[in-house]
Symmetry: C2
Subunit: 368 residues, 2 copies
C-alpha cells in the first residue's frame, strides 16, 4: 500500500492506494468517528463490493443507498433520494457517508455529505480509475443542472480516500481508457517527465498491470494534491486541472449527459486544447500530433461526435462555469507539461479548432 | 446608522443597522464585486422594496427571482427555481445573490449562493425583525426536508448584512412578535442585563420605536456575532443559540410548517425550556414565571397548540438535528442570562414539562 497526504490544514486527509484495501477493515474504521455510516453506491458497483465494505463496518448502524448507474442520474432528484434515506433512517450529524463507486457516486455523495445537517463526515472509496486519479481528490462535489454540468455543488473534503486498485479488475475497458485521459492530463498540464513515463507505460496501464496502475494513480494524485493544496477553492492555479474540460463539458452537454464518458470527452477536449495551443504558436505541430497520438493509443476519441455541430459546441462552451464576467477562459498548453489559463483567445482560432475537429480531422469517425 | 463586524477571519463581514439603508446605493454597491446581481425575494416583500433595491443596482446585469411566501416553500423544489433562473440567465461565478426578505428567503438564497457553481457572493437584506436579529447573521443556510426542518444546508457567510429598520414598518404585528422571541432569547441565554433592558423597553419595541428597535437589533447581533466568532460551525457554544428550538422545531414540524411562525414556536419552546430548567432545580418558580410572562407580554404563545399531542411532540424532538448518537441534547438555563447544553435530561422531567404545557398550563389556549 502506498499513501500520500492532501495538505489542507485542519481539512488535510490521506489517500491510500493499493490492492485489497477494502478487505482491510482497520484502515476504514480509523476514519469513522461516530457509530453510524451510510454507504452510497450504484447498481453496478454495489453488488460487487458492498458486502466486503459492510464487513468492515460491522458493529456500526449502517444503511446502503443504491442509486442507478450513470452521469444522467447525477441530479437533484437522485440527491434527494440520499437525503430521504438519511432522514428516514434518522442518521445524525456525526454519521459518515461512504461513496463506493465512480466519479458520479463520489460527487453526489460528497455533496450530500456537505449538505446533510450542514455537513457530516465523508469517505471516498473510488472504484474507477478516473475517480481514483481525479474526482475523489480535492473536494469538488456536486450534481448537474439540466442546463449545465456540475452547476450545483460544494467544496467539501473527505476524511480519507481509499483507492483500492483491486476494484479496477472489474472496470470495463472503456472506463479504464476514460481514467487514462485524466492521467494523461496531469502529464500534459504539470509534468513532462510523467508524460514521458505514461507514454512508455501505456501498454502496461491498458493491460491493468497493478504496479503501473498504482504508480500512475500515486503520481496523478500527488500532482492534484499539490495543486489543490495551493488553491483549494479554485482561485486560479486549480483551474489548470480543467485542461480539456471546457471543450469536454461542451461535448458532454451537447450530446446529452451519459452518451460519452466524462474521460472520453476530456480526451477529445485535450486534443482540441492541444490544437488551439498549436494555433496560438505555443505547441509545435509535432507536439500537437503527439498529444493526439497518445490519446488515440489510450483508446479515447480524438475528434468530435458526428452528431454534434460546431455551433452548438461553441454555444455550450459559453455556458461553462469557467466563463467569468462574460469572458471565456480556457486552459491551454504553453508547452507539453505546462498549462496556462488564457482569456480572450481570438474567436477565429477557436472556430478553426472546432472546424478542424468537426470537418477536417481524418480520424473524427473514431467514436467510443 | 450603526454597524458591527462579525469576526471570522477572511470570512468577516459587517452588519449595518438603521433606517433607510436600502435607499443608500453606495452601501450595497461597495459589497458587490462583479458586474451582475440576482435579487431573490417573495411575493409579499418584493412589491414593497425591490424597486428601491433595483435602483441601487443600476448599471449591473440583474434579475429578480420572486418566490412564494412562507416556510412551506423553503424546500428543494423552490431552491431549484433559483438555480433554474441562474442557469438560464447565465449568471457566472462572480455574481452576487441578494436575499431580500425574511428568514426563509435568507436561508434559501444563502444556500443557493453556497451551491451555485460551488459558491457565489451573497448579501443579506433582512426585512423582518426575526431575520435581522437572527437568521441573517452567522451563515446558517438551508432548506427543510419533508421529514425535518433545516436538514439540508450549508454554513455560508454573506459579504454583508443590511438591516434596514424602515422595512419593519410594513411588518405584520404577528411577525414583529415572532422577532421579539429571538431578541428575548439572547437575553435569556447570554445577557441578564439585556433581558432587563428588554423587559423595560417591551412596549417601545411593540410600538416600533426606531431607536428601541435599532438598539435591540444591535445588541442581539452583537451577542450572536460573538458566539458565532467563537464557534462558527456549531462545535459547542453555538448550540446555545438553539434555546427553545428543540421544542420549537418539534412544534413546527408537528403542526406542519407554515402554521405557527418560527418565532412563535421558539417563544413557546423557551417557556418549556424555562419550565424544564425549573424542574431541574436551576430556575426558581418566579424566574420561570417571569420568562412566561415576558413571552406572553410580547404577544407570543406560551403553551402548546391544542391540536398537537404530547407524544407526537416528543417523537418530533428525537428527529431533531441536535440528537447526537441517539442522545437528545437540550439547551436549558442554569439561571436567567446563562444557557447550558444538557445531555441526558431525565425522560420523566421532559414528559412533565410537555404535560404541563399540554394539559395543566392555564394559558395554553392563547394561540397566535
Amino acid at each position: 500500500m502506498k499513501s500520500l497526504n492532501v495538505e489542507l490544514g485542519e481539512r488535510s486527509y490521506p489517500i491510500y492506494i493499493g490492492a485489497d484495501l477494502l478487505a482491510n477493515p482497520g484502515l476504514l474504521r480509523r476514519h469513522i468517528p461516530g457509530n453510524s455510516a451510510v454507504v452510497v453506491t450504484n447498481t453496478t458497483v454495489g453488488p460487487l463490493y458492498r458486502h466486503t465494505l459492510n464487513t468492515a463496518l460491522d458493529g456500526l448502524k449502517t444503511e446502503t443507498v443504491i442509486l442507478p448507474d450513470g452521469e444522467q442520474y447525477k441530479n437533484m432528484a437522485v440527491l434527494n433520494q440520499i437525503f430521504d434515506a438519511l432522514v428516514e433512517g434518522r442518521f445524525d450529524r456525526n454519521t459518515t457517508l461512504i461513496a463506493l463507486g465512480g466519479g458520479v457516486i463520489g460527487d453526489i455523495t460528497g455533496f450530500a455529505a456537505a449538505c446533510y445537517q450542514r455537513g457530516v463526515h465523508f469517505i471516498q472509496v473510488p472504484t474507477t480509475l478516473l475517480a481514483q486519479v481525479d474526482s475523489s481528490v480535492g473536494g469538488k462535489t456536486g450534481v448537474n443542472h439540466p442546463g449545465a454540468k456540475n452547476m450545483i455543488g460544494a467544496f467539501y473534503q473527505p476524511r480519507c480516500v481509499l483507492a483500492d486498485t483491486s476494484t479496477l479488475s472489474t472496470l470495463p475497458d472503456r472506463e479504464l481508457s476514460a481514467g487514462l485521459a485524466e492521467v494523461i492530463k496531469y502529464g500534459l498540464l504539470w509534468d513532462r517527465e510523467f508524460l514521458d513515463w505514461i507514454d512508455a507505460h501505456l501498454n502496461a496501464l491498458l493491460n491493468r498491470d497493478n504496479a503501473a496502475l498504482t504508480e500512475a494513480i500515486l503520481r496523478s494524485c500527488a500532482i492534484k494534491a499539490e495543486i489543490v493544496r495551493q488553491d483549494e477553492r479554485e482561485g486560479g492555479l486549480r483551474a489548470l486541472l480543467n485542461l480539456g474540460h471546457t471543450f469536454g463539458h461542451a461535448i458532454e452537454a451537447g450530446l446529452g449527459y451519459g452518451q460519452w464518458l466524462h474521460g472520453e470527452a476530456v480526451g477529445a477536449g485535450m486534443c482540441m486544447a492541444a490544437d488551439l495551443s498549436h494555433r496560438l504558436g505555443w505547441l509545435s505541430q509535432s507536439d500537437r500530433d503527439r498529444v493526439i497520438d497518445l490519446i488515440a493509443r489510450a483508446r479515447l476519441p480524438i475528434g468530435l461526435p458526428p452528431t454534434l455541430d460546431g455551433r452548438t459546441l461553441r454555444q455550450r462552451m459559453s455556458a461553462d462555469k469557467k466563463v467569468i464576467n462574460g469572458t471565456l477562459r480556457l486552459v491551454l498548453m504553453r508547452e507539453l507539461g505546462s498549462a496556462v489559463l488564457v482569456d480572450n483567445v481570438p474567436e477565429e482560432l477557436i472556430n478553426e479548432t472546432i472546424q478542424f475537429y468537426t470537418e477536417v480531422h481524418p480520424r473524427h469517425e473514431q467514436q467510443p
